[in-house]
Symmetry: C2
Subunit: 524 residues, 2 copies
């Protein structure tokens, strides 16, 4: 498949503005060849209208047909072959193995949602049968299930050019829910976005679905993004990116005549608490594991452990030295964009400018300007508590080591935390039993709590929660990873006194889909 730089509006290549932008190879700083066309607000309008028109039939598609569609998207992405990986490497500087892994994750999550649809119980079907003899009034027949919200706007993320971008988790779960999708591709990888967008539309055509199930608008324009959120036909938003970006979309959506839900994943510092007995038993292993987690994907994971909290013991000092050495031995690598690299550098500098923060060690810097140099910073617990800025995310391969004086200070740090995606506790059974309050406090701060593991690596499965209290996300009631993500794009409806011939398959009395349902309050 050859790139032509167009926006994809329904089945049409669209080049309304004539204004071009180019992807940049972060390794070389050179522009890539394809002239991509900046989308216009009028193209957003057309995409939204097509999405609404397609939604009217797409939302009624059977689970089996939607599953086939998701599987076809997965196949079409695989059919792009090495050209997708090559362009994505040029645009993101992410290594081949990582991108092949991420492609596997992307098609894997499409197929997982396909399985969910084939199984079918996700609609949470509930039936309460009529009881004409009930006193004082007869009970009517009522039946409930989840239905799709409407056309959804999805914003591609920079750090997962495949798995959280054009055909990523937001798109997969929205399409699975029965919603049509207008994607705004991330401007750092427009070629990757275009290839995947074309693959999706191939699948739309192969499955004989209507034009408008999917559209892709491209370019760095903020106005185009706003136009998606403001469009009256768009009924929900999926976003992964910065706090500033996510909060702006959230505010925009709430200013609409009809406010709509915004699922914005806005970053997190993912605190790791290391308790004393465990630290003593496994000092080198924890230092090494933490170093690996910090450096994974050049620190450009939402779940990167940006805060590490230890006590002030001798072991903790030893750990600090080992971790310093580990970080020193790290070789820096190219970040996704020069903007991300400079934000990383200035974020670190802002911390280092504080008299309370010291830099313990740095990794080796290479020649390439866009490389992020791993760094280990340290601060005393009391200084951390006095300065809420230090909890903010510095997106990149660093962690801030917080050295606490005692258990009380450690607990106080947990209590003061804002919302995060994850928190991790390292501890032996003794440690954990002595710190039950710490765990109880952390449970209220995050979407995922880990014991003796690293937060990077988010499993795509039924029980995952990639979410958490504000400001980690704009809606703690939802997850953006895993099968439960589908409910972000649905709402319940109740059919009262409906004749059988009008009921959806999921709610017919004889249960033709053989799904698990709640009948008169009992799971069947």
């Amino acid at each position: 498949m050859i790139l032509n730089g167009s926006n994809i509006i329904g089945f049409s290549d669209s080049r309304q503005s004539g204004e071009s932008f180019y992807a940049v190879n972060p390794k070389t700083g050179q522009q890539l060849n394809t002239a991509h066309v900046q989308a216009t607000i009028s193209e957003v309008n057309t995409a939204a209208e097509l999405a609404e028109s397609a939604f009217q039939s797409y939302r009624k598609l059977s689970g089996m047909k939607k599953a086939k569609f998701l599987e076809t998207i997965a196949e079409e992405i695989e059919n792009l072959g090495d050209s997708l990986i090559e362009i994505c490497m040029q645009e993101t500087a992410l290594p081949e193995a990582r991108l092949k892994g991420e492609r596997g994750r992307t098609v894997g999550q499409l197929r997982l949602f396909a399985q969910l649809l084939q199984e079918g119980s996700w609609v949470d079907a509930r039936i309460d049968f009529a009881n004409p003899n009930r006193q004082p009034v007869p009970r009517p027949d009522t039946r409930q299930m989840q239905i799709a919200l409407g056309p959804v706007g999805v914003f591609g993320a920079s750090n997962f050019p495949l798995a959280f971008s054009v055909a990523g988790g937001d798109t997969a779960s929205a399409l699975a829910a029965g919603c049509t999708v207008v994607v705004k591709g991330h401007p750092a990888h427009p070629g990757t976005s275009e290839l995947v967008g074309r693959a999706i539309n191939q699948a739309v055509k192969k499955c004989n679905l209507p034009e408008g199930v999917f559209s892709l608008v491209q370019g760095p324009s903020i106005a185009v993004g706003q136009a998606i959120v403001r469009h009256s036909l768009i009924k929900a938003i999926g976003f992964t990116g910065s706090y500033r970006g996510g909060k702006a979309l959230f505010d925009e959506a709430n200013k609409r005549d009809e406010p709509i839900p915004v699922y914005a994943e806005m970053g997190s510092t993912n605190p790791v608490f290391i308790l004393p007995e465990k630290l003593k038993q496994e000092t080198p292993a924890i230092a090494q594991g933490l170093k690996n987690s910090i450096q994974l994907g050049v620190g450009q994971f939402c779940t990167n452990p940006g805060l590490t909290i230890v006590d002030g013991s001798e072991t903790a000092k030893e750990f600090e030295q080992l971790l310093s050495k580990e970080v020193e031995d790290l070789v820096s690598a190219t970040m996704l964009t020069s903007g991300i690299q400079s934000a990383y550098e200035s974020g670190l500098q802002k911390f280092k400018d504080k008299t309370t923060v010291s830099s313990l060690s740095q990794g080796k810097k290479g020649d390439d300007e866009t490389q992020g140099v791993p760094e280990l910073l340290a601060v005393k617990g009391k200084d951390f508590l006095a300065d809420s800025e230090l909890e903010k995310e510095v997106f990149g391969p660093s962690t801030l080591l917080v050295q606490t004086e005692d258990d009380k200070e450690l607990l106080q740090i947990a209590k003061n935390l804002e919302g995060h995606l994850t928190a991790t506790v390292y501890g032996t059974e003794n440690d954990l039993k002595a710190n039950e309050e710490l765990l109880a406090v952390l449970e209220r701060k995050v979407g995922r709590l880990l014991i003796n593991g690293y937060p990077t690596g988010v499993e795509v499965c039924h029980s995952m929660v990639h979410g958490g209290p504000f400001p980690a996300t704009s809606d703690s009631r939802m997850t953006s990873v895993g099968t439960a993500a589908i409910t972000r794009f649905t709402r319940p409806i109740c059919y009262q006194n409906y004749p059988e011939f009008l009921l959806p398959e999921e709610l017919k009395t004889d249960n033709p889909l053989k799904i698990s349902r709640i009948i008169n309050g009992e799971r069947q």
Copy 2:
């Protein structure tokens, strides 16, 4: 139990402001005897702090213990005996039979949530077991369930002084979820609120729960309501009332440093579409049923059918005459407050001032000033389409009959509708088959769709949806009636690699609670 007019802040009677307000008997216009004390912002702060403190243990309470608590509240409300009904009659002018029924509904929904907790599967437990042999990386153990959001603010509704007030659906579902509650009682029925509030605190004490699980602040102050929504320890809001009130709370909540969910049920006109064959077959029965539904509770139900859409046939004219006659024969009754009565009157007048709207008939007006006189208005379909004001709720015992020219106009009316709680279609099998597009359109506009029934009378059960797209509610993804309402006050959490001894009972491997769970993607 004797009223003393205090606010109930945790276990204390609180009378900080010294400013009194009085309930008014709407039948007589006379103030009732009890001097109720207007709550202060400082009392809200104390209530929120107590709610937060109590939440730390209350949220961890087992389902069985929470169930016992809800059942004890139900018993304590029943123990209030006739004194509750008497005070409530004085404050609301609702008849004894209705209030006894509503009390039954109130204790019934507390007991239904108790059953839900005893059964236990509502937490949506999901387990994906570890797979250390998976390639390229091992699969960790992850387990998900719903946990409580935090202290909740509940605003009592005027029109359900028991079932959607101090111990109503919002409070019951929040307490069931594991949240503590600060209620702002509706100022029209402070005595009812105080009695029920004391009953709840009796139950808190009997069940040895901590102070702060429940507090009640009273009075008409808007600032006090805002203080609840703005308080950083309050994590969600339940509200039933006007669009203006609900939208103001929604906006306030989104302006917070940490935005919180607001579940505001803000009114609805509940359109009823009557299709020709059915109308022809059952003209008098439909007219009579509709009249009853309009008049139920003096039209002060959220699901009151304020819009009735018919075609322009001879049968429809006959129906119009029959319905006019039915409404003429209705006897007016006292509304909840003089404010509601005058808003009803001015709302009708605003419609009648339009040259496009005619008044077909009125019920008989009694002597009492606060009575709402039933009224039937009519408008042509094309005039209705041209004037979006006519879709707005006029809270009270009236309906606007929309006379359409043809199927196309009827469908256009459906397409133009905003979000409503319900829509109803009257039709024979032939009618319904000929109007599938109408049903498909309405499905996107409402939370509940009825065939051949009346929207008033909202069943409290597992499959009910009392909700719907904006502006009917501020969050279409939820219901405020029925057991699914519990999820308004919860969010998912994932425990990764947790040792058995730390896992909640719901997620332990051997399933001690014997609840239905999703294990490795399969319902068990």
